[in-house]
């Protein structure tokens, strides 16, 4: 590949970086001594409609962006990423880690006027989190009962120790409570409330017009004093990214969350004073770009080939020229934004070294005949344009060391089926979503014994007893310090064996009007309730 041709992009990328760096400072300036203004309608870009809106039964940003304003969780994360009570006021765990007691806030009512009690928490935990909620069912696998001695106390009983710091970091996403009285009869999945959610949150559901918009209005009986400030939130369904950017410019949208616009539009709007384009407020939604190896291919089962592939790709060059400030060099499955678990960069790494890559491939016995050693089929996930760019970059980089790569593109359902169920891939690339604690959705990428077909899990045909043991020990270790050390071991081990390579770290990008105040002030801001968000005149 002629890499010098890519240099054209560098100038654009640098301009982009500068523009974004300048704007990141903006939100700070905005907080300076202004009196919050009541009122106003906040228009939000909603790119991909989900099948339902209840965050108690579906953990995804597409649900939180709406349901998270209407329903509330037991705990959320504060500005420093530490757990802070929402519906729960306080919590404590017994030393054996098998009992966790939550004290709930008093005087909270559901939007339909019924009181919120520990019965609601017990019902949601046992019937939704444990049985239906994705990732919740794994987290709460050993939950045996939730006792409710009084309306303000919920006692979670576990068969095996549950580390409190794992539970508290998982609950912001996996701890949304639904009303028992609305769900206790009939099939929860088919309950009409899922499309007209009722919660305790600052905004009340008003209307959902499929394919067009969703409206929620201010809840006058909200439990936090003086909140919320906004009168109304409107989510507008806009599937075309370029059209959404035009609507931002026309003033029809105030906020496009989770990298909802194209990279070039985000860069362009970053230079416009009317908008703030930043990764701030998305630290809790970190993700890494992956290369997933299929060990059923004899070439890839050889560790030298996997390492050679890693050495053959110039990741810093790719980031600088294609992703700009929206990404940084990754060092493994636990991203650097995870202050509680990040083991530092001193785990085995594979810096760009073409000569070494060639030497490793030669050593493994895959000699180049006519410039070609072997061919691999690469399946990129369709989630974002970065994956598409990254797969082309992999293809060209590996071509340079004599590995021919054929890219096979699929839509979402097709990608998951082919990679995680049919195993019809050699290399796959997509996103690994890190959810604030490695036990939530990270270790399943490495733990053996995952059922065939479970997406984003170890389907590589790779098994390592040491790694399995480390993962199992960490999942039930109640001492936070020991737990962190175990996860550091885990990163070292998987970076050595390299069944999946995670060389790029990304955080979602927010595009928001410069008139917004109190935005992006927590690590999962897009998903939170926005009770303190307001719009300046």
């Amino acid at each position: 590949m002629d890499l010098s041709r890519l240099e054209i992009n560098r100038r654009t990328a640098l301009l982009t970086s500068a523009a974004i760096a300048a704007n990141v400072i903006n939100p700070m300036r905005a907080f300076a001594q202004e009196t919050p203004r009541k009122g106003g309608v906040f228009n939000v870009h909603y790119g991909a409609e989900q099948r339902q809106l209840n965050p108690s039964i579906q953990a995804s940003t597409g649900v939180y962006i709406i349901g998270g304003k209407i329903q509330e969780n037991l705990v959320d994360l504060d500005a420093n990423g530490q757990p802070v009570g929402v519906l729960a006021e306080s919590w404590e765990a017994t030393p054996d880690g098998k009992t966790v007691t939550f004290k709930l806030r008093k005087g909270i009512t559901w939007h339909d006027g019924k009181p919120f009690t520990s019965e609601d928490v017990a019902f949601t935990a046992m019937n939704m989190w444990k049985k239906i909620l994705n990732y919740g069912s794994t987290l709460q696998l050993f939950l045996t009962a939730v006792d409710t001695p009084d309306p303000q106390t919920a006692i979670f009983r576990y068969e095996r120790p549950m580390p409190l710091n794992l539970l508290l970091r998982a609950l912001p996403d996996l701890g949304y409570v639904s009303a028992k009285h609305l769900y206790e009869s009939g099939d929860i999945r088919q309950n009409p409330t899922n499309l007209a959610p009722v919660g305790t949150g600052p905004f009340k559901f008003v209307k959902y017009e499929r394919g067009q918009y969703i409206i929620a209005d201010r809840n006058p009986d909200y439990w936090r004093p003086n909140a919320p400030y906004l009168d109304r939130i409107v989510w507008k369904v806009i599937t075309d990214r370029a059209a959404a950017a035009a609507q931002m410019e026309a003033g029809e949208l105030h906020y496009s969350p989770f990298s909802g616009l194209t990279i070039s539009d985000m860069a362009r709007l970053g230079k416009d004073k009317r908008f703030i384009v930043s990764t701030k407020g998305n630290e809790g939604n970190a993700r890494t770009n992956t290369i997933e190896f299929n060990f059923r291919r004899k070439e890839l089962a050889d560790i030298r080939v996997r390492r050679a592939i890693a050495h053959a790709i110039n990741v810093p060059f790719f980031i600088e020229n294609f992703l700009g400030d929206f990404a940084k060099l990754g060092t493994g499955p636990i991203p650097s934004t995870s202050t509680d678990f990040y083991p530092g960069p001193n785990t085995p790494q594979y810096p760009y070294d073409k000569a070494k890559a060639i030497a490793l491939l030669d050593e493994a016995g895959f000699k180049a005949s006519g410039g070609n050693r072997f061919a691999l089929k690469l399946l990129p996930a369709p989630w974002g344009e970065d994956i598409s760019l990254w797969s082309t970059f992999i293809q060209q980089s590996l071509g340079e060391v004599g590995i021919q790569v054929d890219i096979v593109r699929n839509d979402g359902g097709g990608f998951l089926k082919q990679v995680y169920d049919d195993h019809a891939f050699d290399l796959a690339t997509g996103w690994h979503q890190y959810r604030n604690d490695p036990a939530v959705s990270t270790t399943v990428w490495y733990r053996s014994g995952q059922p065939k077909g479970a997406p984003w899990t170890n389907q590589w045909g790779w098994e390592d007893k040491t790694v399995d043991a480390t993962i199992d020990n960490a999942a039930t270790e109640v001492d936070p310090v020991k737990r962190k050390a175990l996860y550091a071991d885990f990163v070292k081990e998987v970076n050595t064996e390299l069944p999946v390579w995670m060389p790029i770290e990304q955080i979602f990008v927010t595009v928001i009007t410069a008139k917004a105040r109190n935005h992006s002030n927590t690590p999962r801001w897009g998903s939170t309730s926005w009770h303190d968000l307001w719009l300046s005149a």
Partner: protein, 325 residues
């Protein structure tokens, strides 16, 4: 009475076709990797195997393919289009909700294209190889060659972002509740840009067909006879030439009514309109078989009925067709 028997015969002939199309689409979608649960997993960001299994049972995907197809056809015979897995509602309801914006957009842009195509086609043929013809033909070519998403986006940038004359997208204004005439005007304002975007491409086709057809008919003997009778040029054109030249246009409108239903995905996406094209696209990506088959069914019905109307129009425009048929 003759019309009714013709309609009956047409309908009887289309039933087998309809079933073949539905079975074909059903089997074709089986070839696509992944099912609606995979698509849902992709949307949710993952889940465990037990969840997936429960969902497959929930959507009836644990049955064999022939059993699923059998089930579907059995429901269809009883005029039940089934349940949409993305919308959690009966497919018939979902389609009915999406039909008004689609039909509105379709009729508006087809009428726009038909009317201006006709006018410009006639003008071009009258001034053939002179400047009006060259100008119109060049413009037509430009409209035809430009991709509709680009047209749409540029229209938004010019008319909504800079000039702020028209709304950039959506079907109606949701900030304020409007009723009666104001609501009609509001929807009309929202449909101006999408109609033009969709219509311009069809306009190009219509004007070229009209021009060619006019030129052909102008050289026929009866036109010379009409002129020889001493009729003035306007009469010759409107009474004799235009009526005969319209036949290919009518054929074309019949053909395009069908494609426009599904063909407006791009325009619907760019202007965020809740139409059938986007619904069809979404059903494919989400592997929502029932909804997709429902849309195919409704589109097929529409094509059949439009073609029936076109046949009747032929007879009206050219009595010889009815006499021979």
């Amino acid at each position: 009475m003759r019309i009714l028997s013709l309609a009956g015969r047409r309908l009887a002939a289309s039933v087998p076709t309809l079933f073949l199309i539905l079975i074909g689409v059903f089997l074709l979608l089986q070839l696509a990797p992944g099912d609606t649960v995979d698509a849902l997993m992709a949307q949710m960001g993952g889940g465990d195997a037990a969840t997936a299994e429960a969902l497959r049972k929930f959507y009836g995907l644990d049955l064999s393919v022939p059993a699923q197809l059998g089930n579907y056809l059995w429901h269809l015979v009883r005029l039940d289009l089934g349940f949409s897995s993305i919308y959690g509602k009966p497919v018939a309801t979902v389609i009915l909700e999406r039909l008004p914006p689609t039909i509105l957009l379709m009729t508006a842009s087809l009428s726009f294209a038909f009317f201006f195509g006709l006018v410009f086609g006639v003008i071009a043929s009258r001034g053939v190889n002179r400047w009006p013809d060259t100008l119109i033909s060049t413009l037509g070519l430009i409209f035809y060659a430009t991709p509709s998403f680009w047209f749409g986006l540029m229209a938004i940038v010019v008319f909504s972002v800079y000039l702020q004359w028209l709304p950039p997208g959506g079907f109606e204004d949701i900030g304020t509740v409007q009723t009666g005439i104001w609501r009609v005007l509001d929807i009309a304002a929202h449909l101006v840009l999408p109609t033009l975007t969709l219509g311009l491409i069809f306009l190009a086709i219509y004007l070229r067909i009209m021009r060619a057809s006019m030129l052909e008919v102008l050289n026929l003997d009866f036109v010379r006879t009409a002129r020889a009778k001493g009729l003035d040029e306007t009469h010759v054109i409107t009474r004799h030439v235009l009526r005969n030249a319209l036949l290919p246009m009518v054929t074309l409108i019949g053909l395009q009514a069908g494609t426009m239903l599904g063909g407006s995905v791009v325009v619907e996406s760019v202007f965020s309109l809740p139409g059938l094209g986007r619904l069809a696209y979404e059903s494919v990506v989400q592997r929502d078989l029932n909804t997709l088959l429902g849309i195919v069914f409704v589109s097929a019905l529409l094509v059949i009925s439009v073609n029936f109307v076109v046949d009747l129009l032929y007879a009206r425009l050219d009595p010889r067709i009815a006499a021979e048929g």
